[in-house]
Assembly symmetry: C2
Homo-oligomer: 265 residues x 2
């Protein structure tokens, strides 16, 4: 089975000119089949603010009303995605920018109103608005494109098949795409973020845990070494492994070659 | 040779909710192979204004500085393009949104500073900024996509292969795409605008000239019946015919079936 790398990069990396240049160079030098999934939340917040639209977050997720949907459609589907595509083309990477609506790649449904426990402990019914939970990814079509030498660059937008675009978490899209490709390729899924991996000591970048098994994970959460936002990231990773992804790597964007970072397999 | 329709719709049509709904329905009912090319200038002007960026036009072309390039990338590549794609998917049309950068479909170069005669008769050197003049369209790749049942939806953005997106006139893109597809299909190129065709009397919508030959065109311009913005539109049409396009139609958006309008062939 041929190998493929699915790389997810957060908004912080694609929105800073220097780190974007570095990413374009690193990603283009990565050999073999590859897919890039990107965020763009910081730019969305900034552009929304310039347009006088306030960003509202609950549980780290953006409440997406009609106006905010327009902003994320512009920023994720246009600004961030097309600059990545043009930048990669300059390196000879045959990038194709996609949202979930394009060639019906990722179908989702609008998230139902949900009871959420807020930071102050109170419970509240939250309507996330135009936010999509993924139903299916067309792995066959993505695989066909990849086999033709195309490098999909995927924005965190999906569609419901009824004409609505939906804002969708980029980590989730990366996992779902990786799982859908697992029938066709040996998949390595890499989550790039601002730290060099999962740290034993949050203040010490040299304390990367090189390998985490599902058993380790339970111990690490019970002892409080792994906490906060890293818990859903790792749960996501184990789920991907259970669904056929060969390896998940959590690392810094400048370690796309799979050296270093925390490996889950 | 199989037939294909290349349809160009202006910003006015895709930016109004009612005319957009009508366009989606009409375009989806069009049988056979098809490509949609869209504008979006009015939305770009509106969003730019909301962001405090003034739109400057010379000879009907937008001066595109770095900030304006960001706006058109968001609006053309994101907002307008992705809403069209999601809207068409709801009709079962397998739309794929593209800028010229995606899979390197349309390569262009930045327009050099140009001497322009302004409305008041004075001449001035104008730097249009990040505006692209088309060098080549990958007709082979577009043809392959179309043969796979994909319907390309093309935004008026191209790239220079050096990492820069460039703002490019949508009429020009439609003509260039039509010409590039002429080696693979029998192409009908339809320009949709607010009038039912080229009119003998600008104030009388029933005075559509049904057919214009190149000989007629010279007579019509000399007599002043065809004037203003219609001249470059028709010159464009004749050039497309000379480059292998079978038929050019100038009509209203609600006449996509090729009935009515002005025909050039």
């Amino acid at each position: 089975m041929e190998k493929i790398n699915v790389i997810k990069v957060g908004g912080g990396i694609v929105e800073d000119t220097d780190s974007l240049s570095q990413l374009l160079a690193d990603f283009s030098h990565l050999s073999g089949h590859k897919v890039l999934v990107h965020g763009g939340g910081r730019s969305a917040t900034k552009i929304a603010a310039s347009l006088g639209i306030e960003s509202q977050m609950v549980e780290g997720r953006r409440i997406t009303d009609e106006k905010m949907l327009q902003v994320v459609t512009m920023v994720y589907g246009g600004l961030v995605n097309k600059n990545l595509v043009a930048g990669l083309q300059a390196y000879g990477v045959n990038a194709l920018g996609l949202t979930g609506a394009d060639i019906n790649i990722i179908r989702s449904h609008k998230r139902p109103t949900k009871c959420v426990t807020l930071a102050d402990g109170t419970k509240q019914m939250i309507d996330f608005g135009f936010v999509g939970d993924v139903d299916c990814v067309d792995g066959q079509m993505l695989s066909t494109l990849v086999q033709q030498g195309v490098v999909p660059v995927i924005a965190p937008l999906t569609h419901d098949g009824k004409g609505n675009l939906l804002n969708t978490n980029a980590d989730t899209i990366a996992s779902e795409v990786a799982c859908a490709l697992a029938s066709f390729f040996e998949v390595t899924l890499t989550f790039c973020f601002e730290k060099p991996g999962v740290l034993r000591n949050a203040d010490d970048d040299s304390s990367v845990i090189p390998h985490i098994s599902e058993k380790d994970f339970h111990q690490l959460t019970q002892s409080g070494i792994v906490a906060g936002g890293m818990i859903p990231k790792l749960e996501n990773a184990f789920q991907a492994i259970r669904q056929g992804v060969k390896k998940v790597v959590i690392t810094r964007a400048n370690h796309l070659d799979g050296q270093g970072g925390t490996v889950i397999e």
